[in-house]
């Protein structure tokens, strides 16, 4: 009985893992900077493009195994190059301003990044699945699984636990928590909140780009990727309750499994599923599963 559903569960978990990276980055940026980053999907797309290009170059040079490194190098490159730059210039300006303005500024950034991506990488689709082939497949109970899917699930669990440990146990995590709780108070006791914002935003960018990079072997990389990723991440982040890391993890699981179930039974309607889940959750809990009423102005 369980074995019948195992493939479905593995597919669902792998899907959930990919959604989780983008959604948790979005939710992290929101919880620290209080900005809903519409351009977040562009970092996902850039991560996918860069890792594909690096992977193809390394494979072309004969370093097939090394092409896996591209999956990790490209998110780091993007986070280092774009994170501090964008936080210092555009994002900083939006802090404390109305939601409408924040959404608009990041929407403008989305438009600019989307075109930069077209100018740099062109409009032709790429596909590069060396990583999937390298990892091969394994048999569990007579059914073949891609090891890459299992890797995705493992990385997602690692990121969840890692983020949790970082925020609760390490010095930097406590500094972030202090700035989120009360920025002025944190500054009075000597915490450099500007550094914390840069760090948190770059970490969010890294997670989005990591999601794109890890997704790139499983999908075709083409224009429009970022626009699709961001709406999905919005839905997941809203279901979890914006700013909640565990919420994002649980919501990713719900959406990933629901999407996979939809693929099995009604494949045409798979894209609708995340939004239906979102509408259903927000009807019952207007601030998401783990969210609170704190957002409402008094």
């Amino acid at each position: 009985m369980f074995a019948d559903y195992l493939p479905l569960i593995i597919d669902g978990l792998a899907d959930a893992a990919l959604i989780f990276f983008v959604a948790v980055g979005l939710t992290l940026i929101f919880s620290v900077a209080r900005v809903l980053n519409v351009a977040h999907g562009s970092f996902y797309a850039l991560g996918a493009y860069l890792s594909v290009v690096i992977g193809m170059w390394l494979t072309g040079q004969g370093f097939v195994i090394l092409s896996l490194a591209g999956l990790l190098i490209s998110p780091i490159l993007i986070a280092v190059a774009l994170g501090p730059l964008i936080e210092r210039t555009l994002l900083r300006w939006t802090y404390g301003r109305p939601d409408a303005l924040q959404i608009l500024v990041t929407f403008g950034l989305f438009l600019v990044l989307e075109d930069l991506q077209k100018l740099i990488f062109g409009v032709q689709p790429y596909s590069q699945d060396t990583a999937i082939q390298l990892f091969g497949s394994s048999r569990i109970g007579g059914i073949v699984y891609l090891n890459y899917q299992l890797l995705l699930i493992a990385v997602a669990i690692l990121v969840t636990v890692g983020l949790r440990l970082m925020l609760k146990r390490t010095r930097i995590g406590k500094l972030i928590a202090a700035v989120v709780a009360d920025q002025e108070m944190a500054q009075t006791i000597g915490i450099d909140s500007r550094r914390i914002f840069i760090l948190a935003f770059s970490l969010g960018v890294f997670l989005a780009a990591l999601g794109g990079a890890l997704a790139s072997p499983t999908i075709g990389v083409a224009p429009g990727l970022g626009a699709e990723a961001i709406v999905l991440a919005f839905a997941v982040a809203a279901i979890g309750g914006l700013g909640q890391i565990e919420g994002a993890a649980l919501a990713s699981l719900m959406v990933g499994l629901a999407r996979t179930v939809a693929i099995y039974w009604a494949p045409e309607f798979q894209p609708v599923v995340p939004y239906l889940v979102m509408v259903a959750v927000l009807l019952v809990r207007p601030y998401g599963l783990f969210g609170s009423i704190g957002l409402r102005r008094i």
Partner: protein, 311 residues
Amino acid sequence: MVVWQILALAVVAVVLPVAGPWLGFVLTVAIGKGLAALGVAILLRAGLISLGHALFVAMGAYATAFLLRGTGMNELFLLLLSATAITMATGLVIGAFMSRYRAIFFAMLNLAISMVFFTLLSKLYDLTGGTDGMRVATPTVIGITLDRANFDLILHLSTVALMVAAGLLIERYLKSPLGEALVAIHANEVRLEYLGVSARAVILAAYTVSAALAGLGGAIMAVATGHVVPELSYWTFSGQLVLIAVLGGITGAPGAFIGAFFFELVRTFAADFAPNAWNGIVGAALFIVIFFLPQGLYGLLQRAGKRKARP
């Protein structure tokens, strides 16, 4: 004051096509988008940003396409009226649900519903033609069948008239107690409730009006282009409408149309010499407006007018 500004816009819209008839088409579409952006602007006055108003644009456009294909109705004005009525009714239903939400959740729920509609439009191939979209036949005008060139001219002039009518009506609405309450919701919703005004009712009214405007805009775009596609309800189009509203300015009804004219003309010329970069150009223009002209292009106009009046 506002009357003259809207009439000036109408004169521009009628005179510009003399320079090149293709501009008539660009401006017809621009007014369609301007109507939808005006709907978005009304909600923005209450501090509510909708990332899903493309839903109503697409609904107006597809309603027109279905009415033309499925029923015998092919009278232009009847089509525009029916499409507006359908989206208005839908807006009333969805608005009853949306008026509970504020800030980011309002934006995201609108986004979610428009994305559901987008998926349905692209996946129900037998009904909607999927991603190929649907053809929109040329309607008749007061029972007269026109060739395409004459129809385009009549459509353009009718759209300009609709812009004037909608602009004046919305300006009246924004100056009425129901409209002024929107700004009050943005400023302090709790105080408004203490005054005995229901914030939900105010938002519901605004939402319904904005849905009707977006639907009318969509119907105009459908008959002008002769084709409807699911992308009309994609979230980037909703973003474009918010962009147009803010670009033009939300302090008055003419803003949305100024924004739409500016946006469509920039887009048409930018697409000519930089087909893959016009979005980026528009995005950069948006930064300039947000950073340096917080009241939008219309705010600039208003300030210039005031400066002249003072001495």
